[in-house]
């Protein structure tokens, strides 16, 4: 794979019900980068990430235009299965992601679609569950797990496909502090390109050296997370607020 992990140019998209969500998005993410995607509600963040593996957009038959490259090659109908393996998407609500009767079935769903069978499939499932520390819960039904456990299994379902790019939609939302930290430990230990939508600004600072700020369907700022969070004017203009008492200049950034 050559070229940047993700390259997006002039991306425009409207939903079938007429709402336009993206008004020309441009950005590039190099291999191995960890990038946070920040922005107020309704900015188009989730819509954008659903384009990265060809679920929305003209590739999927939707209304839009623009260009997306994954690993240097254009997103194309014929490459979709390969792109969906490369770009792993973790959805915001783990209940959307965990749809099979048991955790094991769920983690196996992706690799089975890639054609894995038998012991190879089992090894892959086990490996992914160990990565998130959920190997003891393989035979449990998803709705019997706690929310934090479900979030971790949701990450495992994507890791089982051995993605090169991991995209997470608000990974820390609704987690208690311990689960939030455990997830951060898991994420920082992964050797992948990471793009993470989040409203949890300290989380962005802890995990991502770079941030994109999105509003009204466009990227309005792109830079080091610490710089973005320190720019009070920019933050206020786009309805972003730091937690009470949090100073982005006084805490350590991601350990690289």
């Amino acid at each position: 794979m050559s070229g940047p992990s993700i390259h997006v140019e002039r991306l425009v998209f409207a939903y079938p019900d007429g709402r336009q969500a993206l008004y020309g998005v441009d950005f590039t993410i190099q291999r191995g980068e960890r990038v946070a995607l920040l922005g107020p509600n309704g900015a188009g963040k989730t819509t954008l990430v659903l384009h990265l593996n060809g679920i929305l957009g003209s590739v999927a038959g939707g209304s839009g235009s623009g260009r997306i490259q994954i690993g240097g090659s254009d997103l194309h109908r014929e490459h979709l299965p390969e792109v969906r393996r490369k770009v792993g998407l973790v959805f915001q609500d783990p209940d959307d992601q965990l749809f099979m009767p048991t955790v094991r079935d769920d983690v196996a769903f992706g690799p089975a679609n890639l054609g894995l069978r038998g012991s190879e499939l089992e090894d892959r499932v086990q490996e992914a569950l160990v990565q998130v520390g959920m190997q003891d819960h393989a035979d449990i039904a998803p709705h019997h797990l706690s929310y934090g456990q479900r979030r971790r299994v949701a990450v495992a379902t994507v890791l089982a496909m051995r993605p090169e790019v991991l995209v997470l939609d608000e990974p820390s939302s609704n987690l208690d502090p311990a689960s939030r930290r455990e997830l951060a430990d898991i994420l920082s230990g992964l050797d992948v390109t990471l793009l993470m939508i989040t409203h949890d600004l300290p989380y962005a600072l802890q995990l991502c050296e770079r941030s994109l700020l999105m509003d009204a369907g466009r990227i309005v700022a792109d830079g080091e997370t610490r710089d973005l969070l320190g720019d009070a004017e920019l933050m206020a203009a786009h309805r972003l607020e730091l937690p009470y008492g949090f100073d982005p200049l006084s805490v350590p950034g991601p350990e690289r």
Binding site: V12, P16, D17, Q20, S63, G64, L80
Partner: protein, 347 residues
């Protein structure tokens, strides 16, 4: 309107079993494209929704209550073929997962609640949409009327079945009047809920309404430079009116069912129909569970369970399964061939 077991004699159960199997098999084939595009998850969620909503009782009068059947609503929202599958799935889960009686009356129940309400509701909706103004909002009154009509028609079908297959002689007029009269009231509740659901959907996600897909306005798109252009919205599934082929399918099923039941009734093989001599007006069940709280149902099972008191209905179910499997086999052979071709395009 869940028909208890043992309500009808063997030939009627066989006939309804065949109709149900035919309709499910045919719907599987026709819905294949819808389901490949929108995913089985959508159909499954719709089924879960119908199941949950059937637990919500509304007052009908005289201290009794009814609940939504959902056939016409489901047909308008996800299309008639998927709707038949959704309704059948709901009935199957009620029977298998919640011991909700009904295993032996499955064919009858699927026919009345999963097929008749869906078909009647959908055809009325389509017909009215032709007459109403050409905009998405028209689907609300159209389907509301469809829902209102679908319930008494199902009750009429029930009456017809009883006249053919009920063991007790009851004056047709009397039974029909009582059944239809009662179910017009239930239909009113059905219509109100259907209207409310559709209004909510049209207000928030008009693109979701299957029956109104062809009525959608074009999209205006603003590109990166601020230029606007007009595009037609993606129409993943052309909302084709249920065509001649479905009529042919139904007619063929009815013919087969009729012939088989003729044979069956020509050989009353000693099965005794004592149970069927005892009839239960379906309203009785509704009144029995009036106001049963949904909160308890996860623990104690569905409130509206009926006792299966069946006899020959089982034959209907067995035939249902056999015919359904045969049809599904054919359908899956065909669709898997088609699936190979369209895999990439659909994904």
């Amino acid at each position: 309107m869940h028909v208890p077991d043992g309500f009808f004699d063997a030939p009627t159960s066989i006939a309804t079993g065949l109709i149900a199997a035919g309709a499910v098999g045919f719907s599987l084939q026709r819905a294949n494209r819808e389901i490949r595009e929108t995913g089985p998850a959508l159909a499954g969620l719709t089924a879960a929704f119908v199941f949950a909503v059937q637990m919500v009782n509304f007052p009908v009068g005289a201290g009794t209550s009814g609940h939504l059947l959902g056939g016409a609503l489901a047909a308008a929202l996800v299309g008639p073929w998927t709707a038949v599958l959704v309704m059948s799935t709901v009935l199957l889960v009620q029977g298998l997962l919640f011991a909700d009686g009904g295993l032996t009356a499955l064919g009858t129940n699927i026919t009345l609640m999963g097929v008749v309400t869906v078909i009647v509701g959908y055809f009325v909706t389509r017909a009215l949409l032709k007459a109403l103004p050409k905009r998405v909002g028209s689907v609300v009154p159209a389907t509301t009327v469809g829902a209102l009509i679908s319930v008494p028609v199902a009750a009429l079908c029930f009456t017809g079945l009883y006249v053919i297959g009920g063991a007790v002689d009851i004056p047709l007029g009397k039974l029909a009047t009582a059944m239809v009269g009662w179910h017009i009231l239930v239909g009113l509740g059905e219509a109100v809920i259907t209207a409310a659901v559709l209004s909510a959907v049209v207000a928030t996600r008009p693109d979701l309404v299957y029956a109104a897909r062809h009525l959608q306005a074009d999209l205006v798109l603003v590109d990166a430079d601020g230029n606007t252009s007009t595009v037609s919205p993606d129409k993943p599934i052309a909302a084709k009116p249920a065509g001649r082929s479905f009529g042919v399918g139904v007619a063929a099923t009815l013919l087969v069912a009729g012939v088989v039941s003729l044979f069956a009734s020509a050989h009353p093989d000693g099965l005794e129909f004592v149970g069927a001599k005892l009839g239960f007006e379906s309203a009785a069940k509704d009144s029995a569970v009036a106001g049963s709280p949904l909160a308890d149902y996860g623990v104690s099972g569905i409130g509206n369970s009926q006792v299966s008191g069946a006899l020959a209905g089982i034959i209907g179910v067995l035939v249902t399964i056999a015919v359904g499997l045969a049809i599904a086999k054919i359908a899956s052979l065909r669709s898997s061939a088609r699936a190979e071709q369209t895999d990439l395009m659909q994904s």
